[in-house]
């Protein structure tokens, strides 16, 4: 997996607010659109695209997209 693709997939879970500026260091919870529903979308996307189980705690303990990417990368079979 690569970070560029992952950022694209991550950004797709946000519907309206601009995600063009999303990068590895983006603090995704600072986005106005962030909600528990976006968290579910991220968990579902990671499950679907990478067959990796992300938990609510993983998201709670992460601040940047890079953090999430690293967790997923470490669990990819």
């Amino acid at each position: 997996m690569d970070i560029e693709t992952f950022i694209g997939e991550f950004a797709e879970q946000f519907d309206e607010i601009s995600t063009e500026s999303f990068g590895p260091e983006t603090q995704f919870k600072e986005n106005d659109e962030w909600s528990s529903m976006t968290a579910l979308s991220i968990i579902a996307m990671v499950d679907q695209n990478y067959a990796v189980r992300l938990t609510g705690d993983d998201i709670r303990n992460s601040t940047t997209i890079q953090h999430i990417y690293d967790i997923v990368a470490s669990r990819v079979a």
Binding site: S35, D47, R53
Partner: protein
Amino acid sequence: MQAYLKAISYYLPEKEVTNAELAQLFPEWGAEKIAKKIGIETRRIAADNEYASDMAVKAAEQLFAEHAIERTAIDFILYCTQSPDQFLPSTACVIQDRLNIPVSAGALDFNLGCSGYVYGLAVAKGLVTAGIASNILLLTAETYSKFIHPEDKGNRTIFGDAASASLISTDGFASIGNFDLGTDGRGAGNLMVKQGGLRFPRAIEEAAEPVEGRFPDEFIYMNGPEIFTFTSREIPGLVDRTLLKNELKKSDIGQFVLHQANQFMLEHLRKKMHIGSKHFFIYMAMVGNTVSSTIPIALYHALKEKDTAAGQHWLLAGFGVGYSWGGTVIKFD
């Protein structure tokens, strides 16, 4: 002896809360957009002086009227609720009296949420096949609205109040097959009303403001992402084991009727399990997540809309608070 589902009816309280009303209450939140994603347009809420047992009694009366069932035939009441009227007696005993069901009937409450209907079918089947009772009134009723903090926009969007009534008998329209059940209490804290029992009595002072987005413990708490992860992990296996125990394949199932948690989660599960949307019944836009009543409400509508030819199999699966889960198959006669 074989146990059958014989009839289903349900009741919704009058008061309605639409997405537009939620959007007005929480303008910054995008309620309409989120509600669309979870597939809920409106939900019903019990009146201030209306309790789960009131709704269960109405659902039962509806069952008797709609299906011409004699209440004198009922010889067991199973009442599934997490919103009991009081600590004791069992609300089922009060319901026996209110419904004028013969005093020779057995009655008990059981406390389960989204898995409750499948567990109710399991217990009812046990009672029938053991010859203990032959006409079981299975009631589910929930008023989560009374547990939800007024500012808890997420849970207010998802949950609706409702009650259902089913008759399980020695004959009926579909036989009840084999079950797969499971429990994992490690998830208990992820969906909980902590206060109000004996271990954690309800705080005497006025409810405090939410701390870091978490409402006081007398209100319902749901860790959405953790519940989602649990569902995504356990439910495909539950469906597979339920099929295995009934010696069936996915392609043998006419309709999968799962607990209607929210459409986003259901769609995720459906794709993960490679089930076509034609065979995956969803009914929640007008009612929301009604906890233990989602499966009977969905079943009620699926029975009207879908092919129920003899020999068809439908798979039912409930899962949630506990964690608790259960699946079974019904076969049309």
